[in-house]
């Protein structure tokens, strides 16, 4: 499979906006003519795959001039990298594997006393290129973008040290977004594999990618990922901080954590999960749960709180984090460390106590003009899903909600992309702005490339189904184009318009592999003798509106003749026989 496109009918295309000079990338899908002879214009879809590049050199810095042009940043020396940033084995070896050799830019930060967040600009009434870019991508008015950002109801995760990223927006007024998690772990995988997964995830539609590495070469893996990522990159810095203290949570300190955060700010991480809501007094609320604390970050902080009998240092130092984030435009993703790990524990006292604190922290971050989204569960039975998003939206004054699933049952390990897509559709329908994907390997192992693809496509389904349910303008157009292609037996267009063209075609070809079958007037369920769509065409010709009568029987007959001319053979000896 070519890494740069999903289908031969797809290509990278740019929409030029004369007013701003911006060029917005889309995936253009070429379509065939209808049987009536009517041409079908190319269909453009939102593109997350970026412009493509050699991963050894990294992407071009699309936003570099926009950032510099604002005149509120400075280049500085930055924190000196330490070998421990790449884990203990790097410290032993004296080097990380596969050091980054591509573009090296010294870090930027805001000038002293300046704030460089998109929220800050929006509140000041400044419309940035990032906002214009997003408005064009979303086909909406730029004032909607600015006002949602200013109100905190949307974020554009866009660290000034990640100029390669193509701006995107997360908020309930916009298309529902999806995140894919990648990253190595102590038990497996290499830097090259992770870069490959990044490109693969964005090819299939990941809007952001989180690097959850916990193994060796954490710093260097992240460098490779950010330099090659057209989408925002998120991390959970406590994972790296824990590596720096030999995996012993009680050895963690605010200073080690802060330095890790700054290290990641300088690299260009766009948003960071911060488990500042796991308060000491909430920990006992989890004691009688079926599955206790299942969030890794949540249990690290709970472990720390218990070991020290002190309040969570992420909470006590939260204002300092805000000050740091404001200088790089890093967005908070306020972690739900006490999220339920089973449907039995959903919507309980521990979960909702933490949410109260996340709401408090949301408003605290907004005082610094720092962008915020709030993370949500997890495992929730279907009828309790809606309460999660409605409560979060109310308590957090509409700050974007970012949820993991939720899984609506616990009994299907191996299929948790499905159990969670069901909950994800429901929670997105009621206002969740971004969905974190779940792969078939959830609870069982680390996702490989196939799992990443399955997870991304499953979540594109959930996000799109929610867009349709919300009546998002234009969301139905792709459905309608595909349905029209289906009705007109334009098999190749059905494949090209689908979320996974190669799989759709492979499934079709298993039953009807011959090339004439792609123009055949029947599908494998009915066989060639009887065609329900043919009858529908007859009805349309007799009763349809003038517009629809253009799809006349004559057109179907012409297509039929073409099929007969090609030999009429798929598998059976009979030619197509019209019915009725």
């Amino acid at each position: 499979m070519d890494i740069s496109q999903q289908s031969p009918a797809h290509s990278l295309h740019h929409l030029h906006d004369p007013a701003t000079g911006l060029r917005i990338p889309v995936t253009r899908i070429q379509l065939e003519a209808s049987p009536s002879g009517e041409a079908n214009p190319p269909f453009d879809v939102y593109r997350t795959a970026g412009p493509g590049s050699d991963p050894v050199h990294g992407l071009a810095p699309l936003r570099e001039q926009w950032i510099a042009g604002r005149g509120d940043t400075e280049i500085y020396a930055g924190r000196r990298r330490e070998l421990l940033d790449d884990g203990r084995s790097a410290a032993r070896r004296g080097a990380a594997s596969a050091e980054w050799r591509g573009a090296q830019r010294p870090p930027l930060r805001s000038l002293d006393g300046r704030t460089v967040t998109q929220m800050h600009y929006a509140r000041a009434g400044v419309v940035t290129q990032e906002m214009r870019y997003v408005a064009l991508r979303e086909s909406c008015d730029v004032e909607l973008v600015r006002s949602e950002l200013a109100a905190g109801r949307a974020i554009i995760p866009a660290n000034i040290n990640h100029p390669e990223s193509e701006p995107m927006i997360i908020g309930k007024a916009f298309l529902v977004k999806i995140n894919a998690n990648i990253g190595n772990s102590a038990v497996t995988s290499s830097i090259a594999e992770e870069v490959d997964k990044l490109q693969w995830a964005t090819l299939w539609g990941a809007d952001t990618v989180m690097d959850l590495s916990t193994g060796d070469d954490i710093h260097t893996t992240r460098e490779w990922l950010i330099r090659n990522s057209p989408v925002p990159i998120g991390t959970v810095p406590i994972y790296q901080a824990l590596e720096k203290v030999n995996g012993e949570a009680d050895k963690l300190t605010w200073e080690i954590f802060r330095d890790t955060v700054i290290e990641q700010c300088e690299q260009g991480v766009d948003y960071m999960t911060i488990h500042a809501g796991v308060l000491l007094r909430y920990v006992p609320l989890t004691a009688d749960r079926v599955t206790g604390i299942v969030s890794r970050g949540g249990s690290i902080m709970a472990g720390w709180c218990l070991a020290h009998h002190q309040e969570n240092f992420l909470y006590t130092h939260f204002d300092e984090l805000c000050e740091i984030f404001a200088r790089y435009d890093v967005s908070f993703s306020l972690g739900d460390g006490l999220r339920p790990g089973s449907t039995a524990d959903a919507n309980d006292a521990a979960q909702f106590a933490e949410l109260d604190t996340l709401a408090e922290l949301t408003k605290r971050a907004w005082q610094y003009d720092v962008q915020v989204m709030v993370e949500g569960p997890g495992h929730v039975p279907f009828h309790l899903v809606r309460e999660n998003v409605e409560r979060q939206q109310e308590l957090c004054d509409g700050a974007p909600f970012y949820t993991l699933g939720p899984l609506v049952t616990d009994i299907a390990p191996g299929y948790d992309h499905i159990t969670s897509a069901i909950g994800a559709t429901e929670i997105a329908r009621y206002g969740t702005a971004m969905l974190c994907y779940v792969t078939p390997k959830e609870h069982l192992g680390l996702p490989d490339k196939d799992d990443v693809k399955t997870g991304v496509i499953t979540y594109k389904i959930a996000a799109h189904a929610a867009d349709l349910a919300k009546g998002h303008p234009g969301a139905h157009e792709r459905d309608d184009a595909l349905s029209k292609a289906r009705f007109e037996f334009r098999w190749r267009d059905q494949f090209a318009l689908s979320l996974d063209p190669a799989t759709a075609q492979a499934f079709h070809d298993e039953t009807l592999p011959a090339e004439p079958a792609k123009t055949a007037h029947f599908c494998s369920m009915c066989g060639p003798k009887f065609c329900s769509m043919r009858i529908s065409a007859d009805i349309r010709a007799e009763f349809g509106s003038a517009a629809n009568q253009k799809l006349i029987v004559a057109g179907m007959d012409a297509k039929s003749a073409e099929f007969r001319a090609s030999g009429s053979k798929v598998y059976l000896p009979e030619p197509v026989m019209p019915v009725g």
Copy 2:
């Protein structure tokens, strides 16, 4: 894979009911002890796989004595089988392939003037063995079964000529059921393959199976299926009738259709899809749809109506169908021939006009004490799903709703098991009683065995998620048992309790194949150095209720010691290191 069980930890077990003498089959799952030493009792789950048998001889006739004991049936000669019943090629060859050589029983029908439907008995206040069996399977009071049947809010599809079936009930007061479609088509597959798919589908949890064959050997394939089926078998008789008239819909007559129905009644088909709601005057309502009529049966009848400019003969002869069904206890599955074939066409005038007629026909069938369920869509965007079931329940006075998905978006061919499971969960939550599965091959080709399994498991997820959402008594017990096993690192129990044990274990083994990993205190996402569940156990030991403190740290430590004693090796050189 052994066809008789999903996992080595599973076995066929019978629950004996002393009051009735009935033996109810369940799948018994053996569980290991908790780390604390506490035993976990075996977990029994609802079983659809039947007792198992040699498919050449068929299953034992479980219900034969129950039926005979009621004294209201007679053995008769039955309709003489014709070669055309098996299609034109059988007529040419002089025989069908693979004639059925197992148990041959002459057909039964009711004595003249008698009605032998479960609804009839229920309304008369008679509690049948079938009702008792169902009440034990569902762990509910038999009076609930009887009263729901009497009111038409539930059905037990149980043709007196299918005594091999294990009674099951379809109604919103009971567990949500799923149907799997199988059957050959003009383009592919053999009788043996279809029998194999039947056994495979019921192994994974199909509650009923529809034989949608449209190719050769239709009659003989159905005989093999019914004689081997522990679950009710449904059909769409118009498919076979169409084969008898050479695939030309306009040649269909009431007489040919009626004879086909009787042929199938005598074989033991338990429910039949009848597209009697496709009225002549509704056909023009589909003319301006994006995808016209997509139901095969619906378009056959629409084609017939247009060709003859007459009313649908299934509608005009509906009373005669009721009289026939009452003599065999065949249930109606009133087909939605005008269901939408794309989200664009959902909930439109054609669909809802037909539903009005299906409501009328439901009440007409009830006058004959004939059991009825009503079929529903199809393709419906998520926010319009609920209206479908609420409208059907209101118009049809609570008659069970049986829906195909619905798919909540059209853009993911190859993944329509997922697009439809999302809609299926929503529609079942609001009262749909049975869900017809959709496989990954939907719209693209015929499902193979893997697709059947994927479709069944995906729909078990949807049905179970809906049971949880409805608060169905006991539905959460399997989730809780699996979650407890997960929390206690009983990996083998997690696999055994899951819907697909082999897949769950295979996914786990990809990352951590060694046997010690199955007792290891970590999962692959965290690695061996840090364990969030360990921290939870510490919290429980310190703050938990007395009951929960039984799961003490000492128990975890014992497990840990066992792991170390086994060599402590999974992949890494480090032993498990407790944290915090």
